[in-house]
Amino acid sequence: MLVSLVLSAAFLAYVEANAYRQDLGMLAIAYALLALGMYLPLALCGSLSLAYNAYFAIGAYAVAIISHAAAAWMPVAIPIAVLISMATAALLGLVTRRLSGFHLAVATMMFGIAVHTWLLNTDSVTGGATGIGDIPRLDILGWGLDRGPLIAFGVILVWLIATAIGRLRASLVGIAMRAQRESLVAAAANGVPTAALRILALAVGAGIATLAGVLLAFMNRFVLPDSFAIKVVFLVLFMPVLGGLATPWGAVLGALLVVAFTLGFDFFQGPGSLTFGLLTLGVLLLVPNGLLGGLAALVGRRRST
């Protein structure tokens, strides 16, 4: 807890230094929220959904559309966006409730692809290929958040959500969910409402991912369909694995690593997806518990000797 607080503060101090680092920071925050959103159903119920570009888009487009069509509703734009996403995810979860593994992955991926196509082709709602601009600043109770404070807000969100998911895992509900992952039959026999819990996890995960879109829209003040292509899902997919699935902070670490590798380092100039692909394969094969898991094991070993 203390460690995560100190690190969050250090992150803030680093990224607030200039506009470039602010953009880096916001990208890291957006990825972290997406990764956390994907982590929740994955770690708790073993449900791998790939429709996260859709929830990401819902957040961004809800803000953009409400700001133009119903400016009076702006104060509640964030909850509206989150609710739409949760409803969408619950519906998709219901439709795909009989699927697992690769079948679920492909079905949700097709949904993500179809949403991108829809964003591109539905000019009357989404502005079509050139998107929607002129999005106002985020305003919380009359306090307008410019880039700097917006990032601080994002960091707080990530911290709260990661901490909450960590607590949830430890709590009773979490135990029920994991029991369900270990054995569906056993969990059902013990009265754990498996299907409902799974859909709840998918919906909450989608809600978290939506926040990434909301923040990005307020940051760039312009939304475009190509920001929400299925490509982003494949990038986010690697993050929880890189960091480690034992804790939600693994997803956050994974997001930071991906940003660092795409942009932070000067020595690296190759195509980004090649590096992540190789890095993910390396982690999966050599450090199966992810980097945080590996670190914990290392620390544990040192203590015991």
Partner: protein
């Protein structure tokens, strides 16, 4: 004119069928749905296109590199990635992610090796068969014959071949196969190499039919997978039936609804088929 749509639909269906056959064999051998299959096919096609670009270059160079690359990738997937991972108690999505990661590695390697531009391979046979107003390239006829031949060979191999029969045993019940003393690892290796060869063939056959780029793999992977699920895994011919069905649905929706509807139609197809065709459904586990 509509007849040419049917002809191209059959060609496309045969291609999806080959990809699905790759999935089928790999699944039989390793119990993993290998989504990187599309990337093998694409890489093989680009390799063939790249080396056959210069008309004076020997054809065998392109053929060898296509088959070689696809077999190599297939072997890497099983022996260097899935098998080491299966030794540990890992969740299924570990395998899913490893395969997706590999898919992107192959995509970018293809971009680096062959350039980020479209490539078209040389036809294996020149000329075309003209029937009335319809002209069918000899290459396309050859592709069809080669595809049918491959299916027949795989079916015969699974039924009568030494390793083929063992593969069925390994796929049906690995523990029992081990207890009986079957060389499980060698059987798997043979099947994985066969998968690579099929992907190599698919790449070589498709490269002259359509311009490929380093990003072509995702749609191959998706459509091949849908074909597999649609056809089911009951017989080795099922992937071909699945491929033809997917191609027919795709062509019909593009012809009678319009090209824009493709992504929506495929989504509806996936959800319907995956949810309501339990015989095509199998819980995929990375070995227990």
């Amino acid at each position: 004119m509509e007849l040419s749509l049917v002809v191209s639909g059959i060609e496309t269906g045969a291609f999806y069928g080959l990809v699905a056959l790759g999935y089928f064999l790999f699944l039989r051998a390793t119990a993993a749905v290998n989504f990187a299959m599309g990337a093998y096919v694409m890489f093989a096609g680009l390799a063939y296109g790249y080396f056959s670009e210069d008309p004076s270059a020997p054809l065998v160079l392109g053929l060898a590199s296509a088959f070689g690359a696809a077999v190599l990738f297939s072997w890497i997937t099983e022996d260097l990635i899935l098998r080491p991972m299966a030794r540990r108690a890992r969740d299924e999505f570990g395998a899913v992610m490893a395969i997706v990661a590999l898919m992107f590695v192959i995509e970018q390697l293809a971009g680096l090796a062959f350039g980020r531009r479209p490539l078209l391979g040389r036809e294996l046979l020149d000329g075309a068969l003209v029937v009335g107003s319809l002209a069918i390239d000899y290459h396309d006829l050859l592709a069809l014959v080669a595809t049918l031949g491959t299916f027949a060979a795989v079916a015969a191999w699974l039924k009568r071949g030494r390793y083929g029969r063992m593969l069925r045993a390994v796929g049906d019940n690995e523990a029992a196969a081990r207890a009986l003393g079957l060389p499980v690892r060698r059987v798997r290796l043979v099947a994985v190499i066969a998968t690579g060869l099929i992907c190599g063939l698919a790449g070589i056959l498709v490269a002259p039919q359509t311009a490929l780029s380093f990003q072509s793999h995702l749609s191959f992977a998706i459509l091949g997978f849908i074909a597999l699920v649609l056809g089911g895994v009951g017989t080795p011919w099922a992937p071909l039936v699945g491929g033809m069905l997917v191609s027919a649905i795709e062509a019909a929706s593009a012809r009678y609804i319009g090209g824009f509807a493709r992504d929506y139609v495929l989504l509806a197809l996936v959800i319907l088929v995956f949810s309501f065709r339990p015989e095509g459904l199998f819980t995929v586990r990375v070995r227990s």
